[in-house]
């Protein structure tokens, strides 16, 4: 109780003593629930052995989970009663040690990469420690780690000094209310240009020109560029979906359908024998990436309009399930229309983009100059990846610019108005169906562009790549970023797509952490990382449309 006394010195108000009996009672209840949750699912593993299924016990995990539930509930009670110090003191070291043990191999490799080598003996010891942890299922460890980190952060926040009162500068002219802009807008003004600059400069930083001349990226190579391409692809998809969900307020759970339509249109235009024969007869060559790209977008937009036309009358969640159904339908059709799409075998041999006619190959065919010959460089496969990166970066930025500009056109304003109040729009003479259709079609078009890029990047596509989980991820990026916030989409894409790629050691725990991260971020910031849902234009008030635009 010495601790409570020391804290009460700072707070003039006499604090109630901590209610131990109640906390213990609740902790007991939680422990009991944990026992129920884990007793069969964690406690017994069903393993297939020759001749049937065998049951293997893991009772220590169950006991541990219950104990952890008990301690965790007490920690929460302490945090609630503003007694964060013991929680922080206990949780932070445990979290750090656990994290280090679980990630030991990766961490040591990373430290060795930047010049701090602990030697292989130490790595082996750590691996042994990891295996000697008292739990047979590492899943439990990861879940525990996530929760302990959560407690530690909660405790640290509890210990932080209370937020400073608004200063005079934050007050309005008459001094009555605070006009400080939301954090999101203050951040994003600086963040957007910085992110674009970084994105443009990134390949230069990552390129190994003989030697590593930018020392702060420890693994500058093909892998980093691949992750970057992936992240920017999702940024573009997020921006495309943001038109539908963020601007027009239509919940679309089947966005991946348009991604698929774009990818398959491109793949079929470029590789289907009849199309190739026809184009060679008429133009003397088969279609390349740049010619097919607009068609892929057009096809996806058409698909969007065709789907949207009958169903956009539906509201909210009815629309959600129909779009979800549409996404599944597209995937099932792709899977079963064997004569066109080759079903589960997928389409291969999709041409890769060339640098304005100069291909990225080590040994180009007769009479064709390849990229590295053109610039007199050594052949490096990273050249192609960097070129792909710039293609998707430009495509994504075009999407962004398009969104920012169209918000100022009547149709963009109509989208936002429709999102805010459909009935008011209708009474003002806006046709809701047509307006929604444009949003749906344009969003689908950008999805189609991204799909075409995906096809050319992978050079092979199959229905496997277009499952519901993709739609969910893209939607999660939009919502986690903060609906309608363009910078937020970038942050969320980096967080959700980039982080799991970096933590390769997690491997099978990646998706577990991914789901947990989705939940935790949402609980932490329910309206998104950079939440602001202000209309682009306001009837009253000085702020012009431009002011709000910069924030986005």
């Amino acid at each position: 109780m010495a601790l409570a006394a020391s804290t009460s010195m700072q707070a003039p108000v006499e604090r109630r003593p901590f209610d131990w009996p109640n906390a213990l009672k609740e902790a007991g209840a939680v422990a009991f629930v944990m026992l129920g949750l884990t007793v069969l699912m964690v406690g017994i593993e069903v393993r297939d052995v020759p001749g049937g299924l065998a049951l293997i016990g893991r009772y220590d995990d169950v006991a541990f989970a219950s104990l952890f539930g008990f301690m965790g509930r007490i920690a929460i009670a302490l945090l609630r009663e503003q007694r964060p110090k013991p929680v922080v003191l206990i949780c932070t070291p445990i979290a750090l040690i656990l994290l280090f043990i679980l990630l030991s191999q990766d961490t040591l490799a990373f430290l060795a990469g930047i010049g701090l080598d602990f030697g292989s003996d130490f790595a082996k010891t750590m691996q042994a420690v990891k295996l000697a942890l008292p739990f047979k299922s590492l899943v439990v460890m990861w879940i525990v780690l996530i929760l302990i980190v959560g407690f530690a952060i909660g405790g640290l926040r509890g210990m932080a000094p209370p937020r400073a009162a608004p200063t005079a500068a934050d007050r309005s002219a008459d001094g009555t209310h605070v006009v400080r802009k939301p954090l999101a807008q203050r951040i994003s003004i600086f963040l957007a240009p910085a992110l674009i600059l970084f994105a443009v400069a990134m390949p230069v930083l990552a390129m190994p020109f003989g030697q590593r001349w930018f020392p702060f990226l420890p693994t500058v190579d093909l892998q980093v560029m691949d992750i970057a391409v992936l992240v920017v692809t999702y940024v573009m998809l997020g921006w495309g979906l943001n038109i539908v969900v963020g601007l027009a307020g239509l919940l679309d759970l089947g966005y991946v359908a348009f991604y698929a339509v774009g990818a398959y249109s491109f793949a079929l235009l470029a590789t289907h024998p009849e199309v190739v024969a026809w184009s060679q007869a008429v133009f003397g060559s088969s279609f390349g990436f740049w010619i097919c790209l607009p068609f892929a977008g057009l096809m996806a937009a058409t698909a969007g309009v065709l789907l949207g036309f009958p169903v956009l009358r539906l509201r909210g969640d009815y629309l959600a399930i129909v779009t979800l159904g549409f996404g599944e339908m597209v995937r099932i059709i792709l899977l079963n229309w064997y004569s066109l799409t080759k079903g589960p075998d997928g389409l291969g041999g999709i041409p890769r983009p060339s640098f304005f006619g100069y291909p990225f190959t080590a040994s180009p065919p007769e009479g064709v100059t390849s990229f590295h010959d053109l610039f007199g460089l050594e052949f490096e496969s990273i050249h192609r990846v960097i070129f792909l990166y710039y293609i998707i970066l430009v495509m994504a930025l075009v999407t962004n610019l398009f969104t920012l500009r169209i918000r100022k056109l009547p149709v963009g304003r109509a989208w936002e108005a429709l999102r805010e109040d459909e009935i008011a729009c209708r009474s003002l003479g806006i046709n809701p169906t047509n307006t929604k259709l444009t949003a749906f079609g344009i969003g689908a078009m950008f999805g189609g562009f991204a799909g075409a890029f995906f096809a050319t990047r992978q050079s092979f596509i199959s229905p496997e790549s277009f499952t519901f989980i993709e739609s969910a991820v893209i939607l999660a990026i939009v919502v986690l970023g903060g609906m309608g916030s363009q910078v937020g989409v970038v942050l969320a894409a980096i967080l959700l797509i980039g982080m799991p790629e970096i933590f390769r050691d997690l491997q099978q725990y990646r998706m577990l952490a991914f789901g947990a991260a989705m939940v935790l971020i949402m609980l932490w910031r329910p309206s998104g990382l950079l939440a602001h849902r202000e209309p682009t234009i306001k009837l009253f008030g000085r702020r012009s449309a431009r002011g709000a635009e910069e924030a986005a």
Partner: protein
């Protein structure tokens, strides 16, 4: 054979058993939607966890030596209906309750996140491989035996398992309906559904009522999962996704928020799938189900039994 009455009867029986599964899961969706207006995307995973709990209980009972089938099924029902709702309860407590009153999409994203989380949780704990189980209930009654020239007789069987499924479905639907319409809990739920704030003012413990809604939905999903396990004999960590989507489709088809609608929608989706697979192509049965959903929604935008949306300014 396709044109005959016997074949039709076969598909009808298949469709009804499948529909019972969908209907039981769909009630969970529709109740949650009715009371807090969110799509509980993780409900399919609750069903999947229920299936694993039932599987483990069946195997445990086999180890212990409980081989008398009625007792085994009863015990598994009890275990699954006690343990699965704990997941439903924990889900609501951890992922949804803190977000009550936040933007609606936030809860949808946590629901999807929980769905991904639970799928991987089970995959990591129990392995990714398909888990087959020996048929628990064998045998049946021969309904019709018709002669086919130059081929074995075409027999329409009604297995004991199918009878049990119908009985289970009917029993739990009746119990559930009584709970909703006749008990204090049911009244509180309906009150919360109509006006949560007012219900709270009148002394209804809203948090508890919502928790119990999740518990009841999960209990029915557990029943569905036992039916699924006994009917199909194999489960893996991914069964929750498709079953969840189908059940959600069923709930929307029947009119989301309407409990009779969920049962009707579930049976309809089951029948559509069975007949489409029986008479057309198996591959496109999901497409057929979704297409019919879209068609119905075009003409009845709030589903078959849903209350029409009154637009207010």
């Amino acid at each position: 054979m396709q044109g005959s009455f016997e074949y039709f009867l076969d598909q009808l029986i298949n469709g009804l058993t499948l529909g019972a599964i969908y209907g039981l899961i769909a009630i969970g969706y529709t109740m949650v939607y009715g009371i807090i207006g969110m799509i509980n995307f993780a409900h399919g995973e609750i069903f999947m966890i229920g299936a694993f709990i039932s599987l483990i209980s069946f195997l445990l009972l086999g180890l212990v030596g409980v081989t008398w089938v009625p007792l085994a099924v009863l015990l598994v029902l009890v275990v699954a209906m006690v343990l699965t709702p704990l997941y439903g309860w924990a889900l609501e407590r951890v992922a949804y309750r803190p977000l009550r009153g936040s933007p609606r999409l936030a809860a949808l994203i946590t629901a999807i996140g929980m769905s991904i989380f639970l799928q991987n949780y089970v995959q990591l704990l129990q392995g990714a491989r398909n888990k087959p189980i020996q048929p628990v209930i064998k045998g049946g009654v021969e309904l019709i035996r018709s002669k086919v020239e130059g081929a074995p007789d075409y027999v329409v069987n009604l297995s004991y398992l199918q009878m049990l499924i119908v009985v289970l479905f009917g029993f739990f639907i009746v119990v559930f309906t009584i709970v909703i319409t006749r008990t204090a809990l049911g009244r509180q739920q309906r009150a919360c559904e109509q006006d949560m704030g007012m219900a709270a003012l009148l002394g209804v413990n809203v948090d508890r009522t919502i928790s119990l809604t999740f518990v009841m939905g999960a209990a029915l999903a557990a029943v569905a999962s036992i039916i699924f396990l006994m009917r199909y004999g194999a489960i893996d960590f991914f069964i929750g996704f498709l079953a969840g989507i189908k059940a959600f489709t069923a709930a929307v088809l029947g009119g989301i928020g309407s409990i009779p609608g969920a049962m009707l929608g579930g049976l309809l989706i089951g029948l559509i799938e069975a007949f489409w697979s029986g008479y057309f192509t198996v591959e496109y049965k999901d497409v057929a189900a979704f297409s019919i959903l879209i068609l119905v929604l075009i003409f009845r935008p709030t589903g078959l039994l849903g209350k029409p949306d009154i637009e207010k300014v």
